[in-house]
């Protein structure tokens, strides 16, 4: 699903945020991306989302060489990826339902068909009863779950999450991680950046460890 070949990223005027990173993530696999703050976790996810471009090396996602992706193709590429952010990035000018429906509206789905899928996604994160509320009125944990519903509503092949439990207490964090575990295993690859070692080491999944931009462990899938 994901393949990094000697990928390096240097921000303009900065040091290397990622150096010579190589690894693969298979379809249906869940992996944690961990490391100290500033190790390059967010940068790695941004490269996959094409929010940043690598300075060197090659990246393949879903069989597609991202170096060959044109600006025109970029939106269609992004539709196959679900993203969850630490700050959830929900829009407070519309209801929970409309937030989750956004990716479907963008992809041009008939609103009537979209509604069923939005409800199914909200049901999965246990928030169906709050669909008409404004996300601002929800708790942080609920907001994060709405973000997850939005990430999965378009049935992505790949789910990325950057510190999805960053603002949550341990019980809520464990609950969120359990949600992610439900999505892999049905062919969806999940990559979660987190520095919460105590939480992720309890879960039995592959760990990719970054240290100052270098991948020091987990690259071979053990």
């Amino acid at each position: 699903m994901i393949r990094f070949d000697n990928v390096s990223k240097r921000y303009p005027g900065g040091q290397e945020a990622l150096s010579q990173v190589s690894f693969q993530l298979a379809a249906g696999e869940l992996a944690f991306l961990t490391g100290h703050s500033g190790a390059g976790k967010s940068t790695l996810l941004k490269l996959i989302m094409q929010m940043e471009l690598p300075s060197s090396g090659q990246l393949f996602v879903n069989g597609q060489n991202l170096n060959k992706l044109s600006r025109r193709q970029l939106p269609y590429y992004r539709r196959a990826i679900g993203v969850v952010f630490q700050d959830h990035q929900l829009l407070f000018d519309r209801s929970v339902f409309d937030n989750v429906a956004l990716p479907l509206a963008i992809a041009g789905y008939d609103p009537r068909d979209a509604a069923r899928r939005v409800r199914a996604a909200l049901d999965k994160v246990g928030l169906l009863h709050k669909e008409q509320q404004n996300p601002a009125s929800l708790s942080t944990g609920e907001q994060q779950r709405v973000g997850i519903a939005r990430a999965v509503v378009n049935k992505p092949a790949l789910i990325l999450a950057d510190e999805p439990t960053g603002n949550l207490d341990p019980a809520l964090s464990a609950e969120i991680m359990r949600l992610f575990e439900q999505f892999c295993g049905v062919g969806v690859a999940v990559l979660i950046a987190s520095h919460d070692l105590s939480l992720i080491s309890r879960l039995q999944h592959r760990m990719l460890v970054l240290d100052q931009g270098r991948l020091i462990s987990g690259m071979d899938g053990t």
């Binding site: 060197s56 090659q58 025109r72 193709q73 269609y76 539709r79 000018d93 963008i106 008939d110 999505f183």
Partner: protein, 341 residues
């Protein structure tokens, strides 16, 4: 492992890369929820959604929308009123053609027989329809009747008025008339050939000049309108920045992101056009009375005409197009700069 040479990349190079058509959108059938993949809307339905959505958005802020429409409307109303007035004057200048005659003032000492001979020879010309001789005696009595000065002229020892030939040309064309006038002025015995079309020619020249001015004004004010819309849209883009970022992250194309703003500009323009029409109707109302009085003094019973239904519709459509264009320019300048980081 051999290090692959860094490919020529970067934001700029991606934009310049040849653009293959977007790949066919595969329907992901994996995981997630178990609800079947839905139908997609056609292009038209998507546009309809965006148009209605942006209209509702504008209506949810009626005061702001009204203000923007007013600014746009006033900018458009000025050239519109001017065009209306010119259109009327032009119609008038065209219609007065029918009244064209030439007055030939003959030498005061010309013998009556020579006067008759001149009238007869002119009558035989192909381009002349009719010639009427007005003798000095006739002219004097006409003058006395029309002016009411009966005794002033009685004090004169001699009739000061020259004999006049009033010549009605066959053609109503101003140019033909001018040629005829130039010709008859050179005839023996003719002192002066005067056309009562001089004022008409001046009016036409004036209308032509004013037309050019109106066009220039219209272009400038339309550019102003574009700026107004562009600015309004820039603010709208700024206020929806976070939404744009999220939309781009979940796969919104540039066209999708731009669409609500383009429709917003479209609606601003259309409402500005309606305001401009209302304002020009108001102008019409205010001006129609003095206009009729002015024209009445020239012997015309012409009234000020407004816009036809179709040209009124054209004004609104043109204004909507202008709004769309202003939004497009603004979107091109400001939307691409907003990228998720």
């Amino acid at each position: 492992m051999a290090r692959t040479p860094p490919p020529p990349r970067g934001g700029a190079s991606r934009r310049q890369a040849p653009r293959p058509p977007p790949p066919p959108r595969p329907e992901p059938r994996r995981g997630g929820t178990s609800v079947p993949v839905g139908r997609k809307l056609g292009r038209f339905a998507q546009h309809q959604l965006a148009a209605v959505d942006s209209l509702l958005r504008l209506l949810s802020d009626p005061l702001g929308t009204l203000l923007a429409a007013l600014v746009m409307g006033i900018a458009l109303a000025l050239p519109l009123c001017l065009a209306l007035l010119l259109q009327n004057l032009q119609g008038l200048a065209q219609n007065v053609d029918a009244a064209g005659t030439l007055s030939l003032y003959l030498d005061a000492g010309l013998a009556p027989a020579r006067q008759e001979a001149l009238a007869t020879s002119l009558r035989e010309r192909d381009d002349v329809k009719d010639v009427t001789l007005i003798t000095p005696a006739q002219a004097l009595s006409d003058f006395e009747r029309n002016s009411g000065f009966q005794n002033v002229l009685a004090g004169l020892d001699k009739n000061p008025l020259p004999p006049v030939l009033v010549l009605t040309p066959r053609s109503l064309d101003v140019d033909v008339l001018q040629n005829l006038q130039r010709h008859v002025a050179t005839l023996n015995g003719v002192d002066l050939a005067e056309s009562d079309l001089t004022w008409l020619q001046r009016l036409r020249a004036l209308v032509n000049l004013a037309n050019r001015l109106a066009l220039l004004l219209a272009v400038m004010l339309c550019l102003g309108g574009l700026r107004v819309i562009g600015n309004t849209i820039r603010l709208a883009i700024e206020s929806r920045r976070s939404e744009i970022v999220v939309v781009k992250l979940v796969g919104g194309t540039d066209a999708y992101v731009a669409r609500p703003f383009l429709y917003c500009g479209f609606w601003y323009g259309a409402s500005g056009g309606v305001v401009a029409l209302l304002l020009s109707v108001l102008c019409l109302f205010v001006l129609s009375d003095p206009y009729a009085r002015l024209l009445g003094s020239y012997g015309s019973d012409s009234v000020l005409h407004g816009f036809s239904l179709s040209s009124g519709f054209g004004v609104v459509a043109g204004a909507a197009l202008l709004g769309w264009l202003g939004a497009k320019l603004s979107v091109l300048r400001h939307l691409r700069a907003i990228e998720p980081r």
